[in-house]
C-alpha cells in the first residue's frame, strides 16, 4: 500500500500547488538599469536603492502579496536595447510595473510601449522633461533639469552679472542650459556665451580656454554625473579659472555624492542647486544614509539616484497597497499620481497629478571639506516643493 500513500501524497502536493497561487499573489516588476557601459556606476546606484528599499520594507506589502523583481541591463544610453528589453519584459515576462532607467533617450524609446501595453512606468532617474507628454502610463519620481537649473539661474543673477554656459550636448544638457539661461536672464544677468560639448569628449581644456578668454563672472556647467563632470572641473582647475575670477556653478549632477570623493579638491567651493545631498541633517536622510552604509559599505555614499530608486519603489508599493494586491494599470496610475512621501531622504516629495512629474524640494549647496571628506553642504532651502518650471512655462505659451 506504499503506492497508494505516494499517490495520496502526490495528490495533496498537487492540490497545494494549485491552491498556493490563489492564496499568495506575485506581482512582477520589471527593473531596467544600466549595468554595463558608460553609466554603470549610476545604474548601480539605482540597483542599490531598489534592493535597500525592498529589504527594509518587505513587511509593508499587503498580506499574501509577493514581489518578483526582474532585472535587465539596457547597457547605457542605447534606446533600441532599452526598447527591446522593455518589450521582452512586457511580452515574455508579463510584468505589471516597469521602472528604473538612468537615461532619458531610453525612456523616450519605451514610452509608446507603455501606452500600447498599458503598463505603468515610474522613472527612477531619466529626467528629460517632455518625454512624458504623450505617455499617460509614465510617471517620474526623480527630477527634471529645470527644477534645479532655473532656481540656480535666478540665484546666480543676484550675485553675478556675466555668465557662460557649458553643457553636454544631449537633451538633459540642453534643458539645463535653457533653464539656467531663463532664470539668469529673468534676474537681469547677461549670458556671454554658450557651449554645447559633445558627450563623448575626453579633453575639456580647449573649451575651458575659450571660456576663460571670454572673461565671464561665472560658468554654469552641466555634464552627466560622473567622469565628464570630473573632466570639466579638472580643466577648470588646470587653467586656473578660479584665480581669473570665474566661479563654477551647476546643478547637483556635476558633484554627485557618490562620485565626489573621487573628484578631488578641485571641487571645493563649487556651488550647486539640487534636490538631495547625502550630507543633509534631516532625520529621514540620516537614517537612510546609515542603512545604506550598513548594507553596502562604510565608504560608499548614496546619491540622488539611490534616492530616486528608493522613492520610486515607495510609489509602487503605495500603488500596490492601495489596490490590496490586485493591480490594475489605470488604478495604479491613479494611486501613483496621488502619492507623496514626507519622509523621503530628500525631504517632502510628491507627484503633480496633472503632469505626472515629480515635485521636488531644492537646496543650495556648496562643496566643503567636512571631517576630512568632501561633502555637499546644504546652505539654504530654495524651495520646499517646486514643480517643473519648464512645463509651467510651456503652459503659459
Amino acid at each position: 500500500m506504499k503506492i497508494n500513500a505516494s499517490i495520496c501524497a502526490g495528490l495533496v502536493a498537487t492540490l497545494i500547488g494549485f491552491a498556493a497561487p490563489a492564496l499568495s499573489q506575485t506581482i512582477k516588476i520589471g527593473f531596467i538599469s544600466s549595468y554595463s557601459g558608460a553609466a554603470a556606476a549610476q545604474g548601480d546606484q539605482l540597483d542599490k536603492g531598489v534592493k535597500l528599499y525592498m529589504k527594509l520594507n518587505a513587511d509593508k506589502l499587503p498580506p499574501g502579496v509577493k514581489l518578483e523583481l526582474i532585472t535587465r541591463d539596457d547597457t547605457g544610453p542605447n534606446p533600441d536595447v532599452a526598447k527591446r528589453v522593455a518589450q521582452e519584459l512586457i511580452v515574455r515576462d508579463k510584468v505589471q510595473f516597469l521602472t528604473g532607467l538612468v537615461w532619458t533617450p531610453n525612456m523616450a524609446a519605451i514610452a509608446p510601449l507603455t501606452t500600447e501595453a498599458k503598463v505603468p512606468f515610474v522613472s527612477m532617474n531619466a529626467a528629460g522633461a517632455r518625454v512624458m507628454n504623450n505617455a499617460p502610463y509614465m510617471a517620474r519620481v526623480s527630477f527634471t533639469l529645470w527644477q534645479s537649473a532655473y532656481p540656480l539661474g535666478q540665484w546666480a543673477a543676484k550675485k553675478y552679472k556675466r555668465a557662460y554656459t557649458a553643457v553636454s550636448d544631449f537633451a538633459p544638457g540642453h534643458e539645463a542650459e535653457e533653464g539656467f539661461i531663463k532664470g539668469f536672464k529673468e534676474g537681469g544677468g547677461e549670458i556671454v556665451g554658450s557651449l554645447r560639448i559633445p558627450l563623448a569628449n575626453p579633453d575639456f581644456v580647449p573649451f575651458m580656454q575659450r571660456i576663460k578668454d571670454a572673461k565671464p563672472d561665472v560658468v554654469f556647467g552641466f555634464n552627466p554625473a560622473g567622469k565628464a563632470a570630473t573632466g570639466m572641473m579638472k580643466a577648470y582647475a588646470d587653467l586656473d579659472l578660479a584665480k581669473a575670477g570665474v566661479k563654477f556653478i551647476g546643478t547637483g549632477d556635476i558633484v554627485t555624492d557618490d562620485e565626489l570623493p573621487n573628484m578631488g579638491d578641485v571641487t571645493l567651493g563649487v556651488t550647486t542647486v539640487h534636490h538631495y545631498s547625502a550630507h543633509s541633517d534631516r532625520p529621514a536622510n540620516k537614517a537612510f544614509v546609515a542603512a545604506y552604509k550598513k548594507e553596502f559599505g562604510e565608504n560608499l555614499n548614496p546619491s540622488f539616484m539611490a534616492v530616486g530608486a528608493w522613492d520610486a519603489m515607495d510609489a509602487i508599493f503605495h500603488a500596490i497597497r492601495e489596490q490590496g494586491g490586485k493591480v490594475d494599470p489605470d488604478k495604479s496610475m491613479e494611486a501613483i499620481k496621488k502619492w507623496r512621501n514626507p519622509n523621503s531622504p530628500r525631504g517632502m516629495v510628491s507627484i503633480d497629478p496633472e503632469t505626472r512629474d515629480v515635485i521636488n524640494p531644492e537646496y543650495l549647496r556648496e562643496v566643503r571639506k567636512v571631517g576630512g571628506k568632501l561633502a555637499n553642504v546644504e546652505l539654504e532651502t530654495i524651495s520646499t516643493g517646486i514643480k517643473d518650471p519648464m512645463k509651467e512655462a510651456d503652459k503659459k505659451k
Binding site: S36, G37, A38, A39, A40, A41, L195, R196, I197, P198, A200, P202, D203, V205, P206, F207, Q209, R210, D213, G226, K227, T230, G231, K234, D238, L239, D240, N262, M263, G264
Partner: protein, 291 residues
C-alpha cells in the same frame, strides 16, 4: 587682435601636447607595421594598459611619478612579449583579414577585462605636486603638466630617433623595413629583431598612454575610441617611417584642438575629412614608401 593671438598660442600649445602624446603612442605601430607587415589593431590596448599601470601605481601603491612612468613602459613591454610569443607569432605572414580579426578579438577581451578589474569610470590621475598648477612663460600661464608633457615627449622622441639613426639595432630595423628579404639574406635575424622592436614599440605605447592619461582619459573603451586616431597617424604619416607620423600627429593634435576651440559644433568632423583629403593626395602617406 591680442586675444586672438593669445588663443592662437593656447591652441598651438595644447595641440602640440596632444600631438606629442599621439605620436609617442603611435610610433610603435608605424614601425612594427612597416617592419613585419602585421596589422595590429590592438595597439590601443597597450596604451590603455600603460595608463592603468600608472594610475594603479600612483593611487594604490604610492609609487613616485617617475617610477610609475617607468613601470608603465616596462610592464607593458613585457606583456607584449608574452602576447607576441603566444598569439601574434602564429599569424606572421597570414592574410590581413586574420590579423585584423585576431587583434579585434584582443580588443574585445581587454575591454572586458579592464571593465571587470577597474570598472567603467575614467581613472583619476593623481599628479605629484611639482607637476600641478600653472607655469609662467612669456607673460602667459600654461598648465605645468602639459609643459612637462611636451618636454618629456620631446626627450623620448629625440632618443628614439637617435636610437634608430645611430645605433646598430636601428640600422638593422631600417634595413629590414626597407627590404626584409634582403636583410634576412645578409644575416639579420628578423624574427628576433621584430620581437625586440615590438616590445619597444608597445612599451612606448604604454608610456604614451600613461603620460597622456590626463588628456586622453583612461577607460575601458579606450582601444575602440582611439583606434581611428592611431591609424590615421600611421597611414597619413606613412608606414615604417619615423618622421612622417610625427608630422601627422602634430597636425592632428593641432587641428583637433583648433576645431574644438573655434568650431566646437563640428567636433572631430574635420579630422576625418582632412584625413581623407590627405590620403587621396598621397595614398602612401606623407613620408611613406612609394610602392
Amino acid at each position: 587682435m591680442e586675444s586672438f593671438l593669445s588663443s592662437l598660442v593656447s591652441v598651438a600649445f595644447h595641440g602640440v601636447a596632444y600631438g606629442m602624446i599621439l605620436y609617442v603612442i603611435s610610433v610603435g605601430l608605424s614601425v612594427t607595421m612597416g617592419l613585419m607587415g602585421f596589422t595590429n589593431l590592438a595597439h590601443g590596448v597597450f596604451a590603455m594598459a600603460g595608463g592603468y599601470v600608472l594610475v594603479t601605481a600612483l593611487s594604490k601603491w604610492d609609487v613616485p611619478f617617475p617610477l610609475a612612468l617607468l613601470m608603465a613602459f616596462v610592464l607593458v613591454a613585457l606583456a607584449s612579449v608574452i602576447l607576441e610569443r603566444l598569439l601574434y607569432s602564429r599569424l606572421y605572414g597570414a592574410v590581413e583579414l586574420e590579423q585584423v580579426l585576431l587583434t579585434i578579438g584582443l580588443i574585445f577581451m581587454s575591454v572586458a577585462v579592464a571593465r571587470l578589474i577597474f570598472g567603467t569610470l575614467q581613472q583619476p590621475v593623481v599628479l605629484p605636486d611639482y607637476l600641478k598648477g600653472q607655469f609662467s612663460m612669456l607673460g602667459r600661464d600654461f598648465p605645468a603638466y602639459r609643459v612637462f608633457l611636451i618636454l618629456f615627449s620631446a626627450g623620448i622622441i629625440a632618443s628614439l630617433w637617435f636610437g634608430v639613426e645611430r645605433t646598430i639595432w636601428g640600422a638593422k630595423v631600417r634595413a629590414a623595413v626597407d627590404n626584409r628579404a634582403m636583410a634576412q639574406s645578409i644575416g639579420i635575424n628578423t624574427r628576433r629583431l621584430f620581437g625586440v622592436t615590438f616590445a619597444a614599440g608597445s612599451g612606448l605605447a604604454g608610456l604614451g598612454g600613461a603620460l597622456g592619461a590626463e588628456i586622453v582619459a583612461i577607460q575601458p573603451t579606450y582601444p575602440f575610441e582611439q583606434l581611428v586616431y592611431f591609424l590615421i597617424v600611421v597611414s597619413v604619416g606613412g608606414l615604417g617611417s619615423l618622421r612622417g607620423p610625427f608630422v601627422a600627429a602634430l597636425l592632428i593634435g593641432i587641428t583637433d584642438t583648433a576645431c574644438k576651440y573655434w568650431l566646437p559644433q563640428f567636433g572631430a568632423f574635420f579630422i576625418y575629412v582632412a584625413t581623407i583629403g590627405l590620403l587621396l593626395w598621397r595614398p602612401t602617406g606623407l613620408f611613406g614608401k612609394r610602392s
